[in-house]
Symmetry: C2
Subunit: 295 residues, 2 copies
Amino acid sequence: MSIKTWDEIRTAYQVARLGTVSGAADVLGVHHATVIRHIDALEGQLGVKLFQRHARGYTATEAGTDLLQVAQATDDQFIQLAGRIRGRGASVTGELVVTSIAMLSPLLNPVMIRFQRDHPGLIVRFLTDDRVFRLEYGEAHVAIRAGAAPEGGDNVVQPFVHDRFALYGSKDYLALNGAPESDEDLANHKFVVADGMDSKAPFFRWLFDRVPQASLSFRATDGRVMRDAIQMGAGLGFLSSYEARLLPDLVQVMPPRPEWRAQLWLVTHVDLHRTMKVQSFLAYLKDAAKSWPLE
Amino acid sequence: MSIKTWDEIRTAYQVARLGTVSGAADVLGVHHATVIRHIDALEGQLGVKLFQRHARGYTATEAGTDLLQVAQATDDQFIQLAGRIRGRGASVTGELVVTSIAMLSPLLNPVMIRFQRDHPGLIVRFLTDDRVFRLEYGEAHVAIRAGAAPEGGDNVVQPFVHDRFALYGSKDYLALNGAPESDEDLANHKFVVADGMDSKAPFFRWLFDRVPQASLSFRATDGRVMRDAIQMGAGLGFLSSYEARLLPDLVQVMPPRPEWRAQLWLVTHVDLHRTMKVQSFLAYLKDAAKSWPLE
DNA sequence: AGGCGGTTGTGCACATACGCACATCACGAA
DNA sequence: TTCGTGATGTGCGTATGTGCACAACCGCCT
């Protein structure tokens, strides 16, 4: 059987170290009667006397000195541990795990790179996957989500920026099919869209209301595939105007509209939200967003 | 500032190890509400979240896994410590510290040697000094004292054997002075005695009553010095009959008398008296005493 | 010798921390 | 969907452990 409580070991440690019950009581901030009772209880559990009692104090037996050695090391370990943990909350070290959709990487990558550069020793992990990473399970520190406001869970979610979308086509496509003259003309074109009608993206819902199903000729699940398809002339498609500026051979056939905007959300788990690391990264994000040509 | 209580670390350790509050509560033998309160208190002290709470349990943050590592090592250390200490009470290892007067070493040495031989790894320390070693301060496990029954302190004292004393002289001395014919004839001889009139030894008090001070011509404080003086013919003197049998050139001029006997006492500190090591050594002593030609 | 400071040890009253019961929530299976 | 299981979280009454006051003891210094 193991030890019932670690505190009695701690008490015995102080007694062995200081040699007196009173001294140990002072250090521990308890009454000396408590110290005596702890020692008695511990000796009772172990079946061995840890100290020899006399009027000048307690002197450790062999078992007591053995405990002293072990508990001394433990005390040091715990002090260092507490220092590390307390410091960890106030400084930014270790890992910063960010999760989002891959489509946002052109926006997020510069921020993460700068954050890492300003915090040497920090490791940045940017996780993108089909499934949503669950902050509740500690899979990530901060998530940048798109769409409707994420709810539920112990997450603190705050609105971020609006990702501005416009309609693009490749030069090849436009040379063959021309550009749509008006909203009504869209029905005569082909489109690259997300697979499935359940997409919550506002520009897709806007599009689905105006063109027949047959016009949605290229459907994919991955954002990168869709982007490549648009570039290769598979059809017109919506892209973040910020992203599209970096891509060659793309022509903006319709400028951004407010109703196409996608709200981005910053979401962090409540347990991690107050840490310096997360707060600092959020500040970097918001600061970078000011110079983003999105709104 | 250090940690307030080690038990909360222990609780957090089990939670980090098992992943659930309920599991930790089972292992620790407490209610799960207690576990939650411990975690909350510890996190409050550290100012950092150790766990992320979700419906499936607690998953450790970086700080939590750090604590897990440290506390895991601590748990192992304490388990080993408890094993050592518990075993120490039931087995005989480490040191056995015996204190007595040097005069008894001919009797005690064989016992200690046999005890050490039967308990490999044990270190026997036989302390003899002018001052009495204080068992209360843990200076020795068992003391063999001579004279009046030792009292006071938290010592358990039990009567041991009677050391049988006789009067001896060297062949040289007897060739020069002859042997005393009767008790009254003692006044015509020289004696080797302990320095100071305050000796409590019964044979000395008996002698002091029968011979003039001037007869006590050689006085020493050390038993070995007295023995050597008798051997070298400085005068007659009392020796343990057991010891004298081993010495050459000594003649017993008066056989042992009951009133010369010195009571020996076995005294151990109450805190150590119940340990296997002490009990075992006491058994060796009593067993060896049966074959001593003392009574 | 005798008082003094510091120690251990103990009975009693109380506050802190515990266990209990219940509420709530999430996930999975039927 | 609905039910069931197993998890976390909380209010409340109680018991365990704590602090307090005092006693007894020892060593030291005057």
